[in-house]
Subunit: 372 residues, 4 copies
Amino acid sequence: MKRKINVALIGPKFMGKAHSNAIRSAAHFFELDCEPVMKTLCGVSEGLEATAKLYGWQKTERDWHKVVSDPEIDCVAICTPGNLHKVMAVETAKNGKHVICEKPLANTLEEAETMLSAVQESGVINFVNFNYRRVPAVVQAKKLIEEGRLGDIVHYRAIYQQDWAAYVTGNYVWRFDNEISGGGAIADMGSHVIDLGRFLVGEYDEAVCTHKTVIPYKINPTSGEKKSVTSDDAANFMATFKNGVSGVFQTSRVSVGKKNWLSFEVNGTKGSVVFNLERMNELEVYLSDSDEDVSGFRNVIVTQPCHNYIKNWWPTGHIIGWEHTFVHQYYEFFTAITSGVQTSPSFADGVETQRVIECLLKSDKTRQWVKI
Amino acid sequence: MKRKINVALIGPKFMGKAHSNAIRSAAHFFELDCEPVMKTLCGVSEGLEATAKLYGWQKTERDWHKVVSDPEIDCVAICTPGNLHKVMAVETAKNGKHVICEKPLANTLEEAETMLSAVQESGVINFVNFNYRRVPAVVQAKKLIEEGRLGDIVHYRAIYQQDWAAYVTGNYVWRFDNEISGGGAIADMGSHVIDLGRFLVGEYDEAVCTHKTVIPYKINPTSGEKKSVTSDDAANFMATFKNGVSGVFQTSRVSVGKKNWLSFEVNGTKGSVVFNLERMNELEVYLSDSDEDVSGFRNVIVTQPCHNYIKNWWPTGHIIGWEHTFVHQYYEFFTAITSGVQTSPSFADGVETQRVIECLLKSDKTRQWVKI
Amino acid sequence: MKRKINVALIGPKFMGKAHSNAIRSAAHFFELDCEPVMKTLCGVSEGLEATAKLYGWQKTERDWHKVVSDPEIDCVAICTPGNLHKVMAVETAKNGKHVICEKPLANTLEEAETMLSAVQESGVINFVNFNYRRVPAVVQAKKLIEEGRLGDIVHYRAIYQQDWAAYVTGNYVWRFDNEISGGGAIADMGSHVIDLGRFLVGEYDEAVCTHKTVIPYKINPTSGEKKSVTSDDAANFMATFKNGVSGVFQTSRVSVGKKNWLSFEVNGTKGSVVFNLERMNELEVYLSDSDEDVSGFRNVIVTQPCHNYIKNWWPTGHIIGWEHTFVHQYYEFFTAITSGVQTSPSFADGVETQRVIECLLKSDKTRQWVKI
Amino acid sequence: MKRKINVALIGPKFMGKAHSNAIRSAAHFFELDCEPVMKTLCGVSEGLEATAKLYGWQKTERDWHKVVSDPEIDCVAICTPGNLHKVMAVETAKNGKHVICEKPLANTLEEAETMLSAVQESGVINFVNFNYRRVPAVVQAKKLIEEGRLGDIVHYRAIYQQDWAAYVTGNYVWRFDNEISGGGAIADMGSHVIDLGRFLVGEYDEAVCTHKTVIPYKINPTSGEKKSVTSDDAANFMATFKNGVSGVFQTSRVSVGKKNWLSFEVNGTKGSVVFNLERMNELEVYLSDSDEDVSGFRNVIVTQPCHNYIKNWWPTGHIIGWEHTFVHQYYEFFTAITSGVQTSPSFADGVETQRVIECLLKSDKTRQWVKI
């Protein structure tokens, strides 16, 4: 009989829904050494009970302090806006519970470091949900890099474009408030491509950045109310990595027509890879050792048994979706809990990305390259 | 308190896994008027209990007769090879249980018609799992056609190519045995594109077909054993529809490099659509009423709230996977059960596709166009 | 001092323009053993002199009999509608002049055979302008097949879709008149993909076809005049090749949104290629001997020095256009003239494609498979 | 009888070949008010006479001073490496001859400004060959922007990647020598995307840049000789435009697998466009005023009569190649000469791009944002 792991989740919105699905599904596709139990859903909105039922949680609680101190709970998923991450994660850790936290890890580097100290002191397993590390195509890209099949890495380019914030008329959401969200184009979107840079290429050295809020306020379509947008809509930045790789980045939530275009390209001395989240089951791969007359970027449909995580899903060519990255993340999280072996992306990874974000914000102010 | 619907599933392999996931997930994403309960998994292979646990079934049973006559069971999913569909479906219907059956509905038209009679007599809800009708992009294609936005339909072309059977060396699976599977390129693969033709364009009128087994036997990689392939590897066929549309089809499981390439194109007098299952979240749409200087096929990422089924999943641009079509199918199946309103694709649809298959096989023999 | 080759061209419209450019350009990009001289442009339309000047011809002539018997002329390009090909080519050959003729070679098989006899008797170099054999990407496809890199060929699929004839309102052109053009979807468009099948795969064995005129008449946008379309708008056909390969074809000039979509796919036991004329500098290539984790269709930009014809143009990645296929054709034609070595595609190739066309037309009437 | 324009060209290599073809072809496709005559080809390499004959020039000359002072010559095309542009253009202008010069206009801003003064003083027509302004798809992008169909422009991203310099083993060419070429990733490649930014978006305001030489030397494959590369292989830069648009750029000639990947994306408040030179006949266009359920990027095949330059070439869907941009450029150049109306891109445009280049180089040294 497998050990039961009682899970609690705080923040039942979009992210909470994706986490819930992953917690519910992980054991049905991956072999776990535990049995996750969806104990408590915590939130403050109306309809929490109905949501809990829909998502498959056994009970609800409105006071998160009770949740993270509940002796019955083994681990906590934090899916709230960024301004609550620190207090929740620290208290979770102090109660000796494992923790997985949405990205970016915190709203400031200082908060992130406090969180890291807390989990280190208590020794709990800690994950930050950079879920795109769990896309099989991204793992395949990393494999090619690690095995030297792309040679020495030379360039990293990453673009993350969406358009949901591109219009003046629209509902105001917490992501527009910098105090709550901790940022937009850099923190919310940029954190993903910064983390992928660390995952694929290595540690950052220096960076320079410029960002701005393109649509300065939103007009509520029904009330006509006008409310300021204080988080950044768009950012460009450049970075160098410690290993000499040069990086260039663009993130924007006001790129009309782009829905969820997280794309990166890595060029090495022997090959290149290109990825795009909107076609996340594919990886474009160029290898310079091909016969010259058939050299070209290969469209690899990353759905074969040899590709990471895939044999647990469906036969070749039967694609997986966005939510599957969360299932993979929880498979890794639960495996870390039962094995006691902390893996990545941990709070330490969250801190490193936060360090880059902090430098980017500083660079925008000082108009200087900033050492990371 | 919602009414409980006790489900049984026969055939726990690839399809059984996909059905299980859908049954488990439907109520977590869609509002149902019932609560599906995963009662019994039925199969004959070793490890059935472990599989049942993995997939989330409460109990197991090796004798399907017991399952379909179990008073506790409300509906049965048949995921076995085609040669068992008829007996199982008929007995299920006679026991007054609702039934959803994998495609093609049967191994012969006669069997299919028997099945249809059985469900009609007992009045149970009946579905055949042409799951690609549940792809949001396919539903969008149908919407454009039904709303007249493509004008009068002129051409339908459908291609279904895979390559898993393209190599002599490989494991022998039941799909290679015509007696068990009821066919390969036409029955297994063709049934999908034939059904999509009915779904999108209308009823077939005449057809001509040629098919063959390209790789006549398989050599087991470990034992060296050689075993004949009796089902067809590849087929080409042409058809006309009753409304005058002309159709052309190619199906093959020996198209090296093609993983799950189910692609169709519909041309009308005012526009066209192109779909490809490997990029199932996208639909290419051409509308001739665009400004001339920007006329072109649009790559529609079919992941917006206005697209069918999507608002129950994730925000725009967060793609869904192959398995989601099964979740949609079960949402429709359970809805039919609770509402008592039979919807499509029903056994009647399965019969019509079987009728086309029968004519195609006949045409290959007679080398004639055959009236459908 | 190189030998001068005096060229005459009959038919100064769209095709005449493309031929003129090729004749004018060939010697500027390819090493020829002769110096082509643009002697005479022959046509019957007003403005012939202006056209001749624009295209670079030295003189004009309205009576084609004079042109093909002019002692000064060494070779003749026939760019007229199909109903004139036979008389012109036969008389050209009888006058001992080399001849290059637009495709399809003639309006009937009998005409084509007469033409072949004529050139064989006189011993002149003869070409039929299946110019898509001269696309570097198509030559690369053939190279892969000939070198066995795709294994044994299994399938050939070819689609040729345009949409210029898809609307009722539009100018009437000679291509709509079956007597003049010799046909539409099969003869005009189909001849290309039939010839590519012979070029890439081999000789045809049997075929079955259905075709139709979708838009039965045209209404002149200014006069309101209504005129019948007697040539076919769309055709579907299937064929088998003598080597056992199966083929499936669709051609249509009423496929709304498709501009010049000549696409083919060849599947072999070891690999596949896909080509599309709208992206004629690219060839998709799949080779099954790649490492499994990076197997996929490669997008080969066929613009490298190792690719046929390319080193005479521009550096890698600098694409060529549609008209370049004509330049390549004339390079081959002039080379054949100076070397005395007849190469392909000759009138003999034109006859073979005409034979297939004749059988397709017959099959449409008899509703039978027809031996070719 | 049209006025004859006697042309001379200096620099008979790759660029000289493309210019020669354009000069030879312009009058055959476009209506000119003059008759260009290919008078003199000037160069210093062996085989100049054979090259002149191949390209269609009447005579040759090894001393460029004689060419630019030849009374017979009306205009001069300068296709040499950048270090010779200034002296040649200035002397050409002083001799009252019209001039078209390859890009970048010069090796320094000072040189460029001297050149601009010279042509302004003499009043000759002057062009800098930013030929990508002449791609019909690029012109279409500009049209959409100018007509306001993309709304207010927000972002500009431009990437130019090649891989011909990515390998240590290879022939040394003058482009590797910074003294001769004036630069690599920024000057040679970057000048194109900088100019396109000015063409499409507006004047630059500030920029920050980092560049480097990735492959520091070349080893001659036959001699084994090792020679330093002094020009930059790769650059990243960011810029702001005076109208508030933010820009991000990457240029590299060491991006393995990328052949001639000049790609840009422009996002406005109402729409976006994406262009890629490897598919230069296409433009991706997104317009937010489409019906929501069919909104998506349209793949516009920019080959319709309504598209700029196209009606002079071929019917819809018959693509043009890279060299055609030069024909368009010469059509504009000759038209400017005969009309006396100076158009763009002129030396003034060349100076502006040079100003940006100079600032980028400065920024790389100072590690600061630089005002342009």
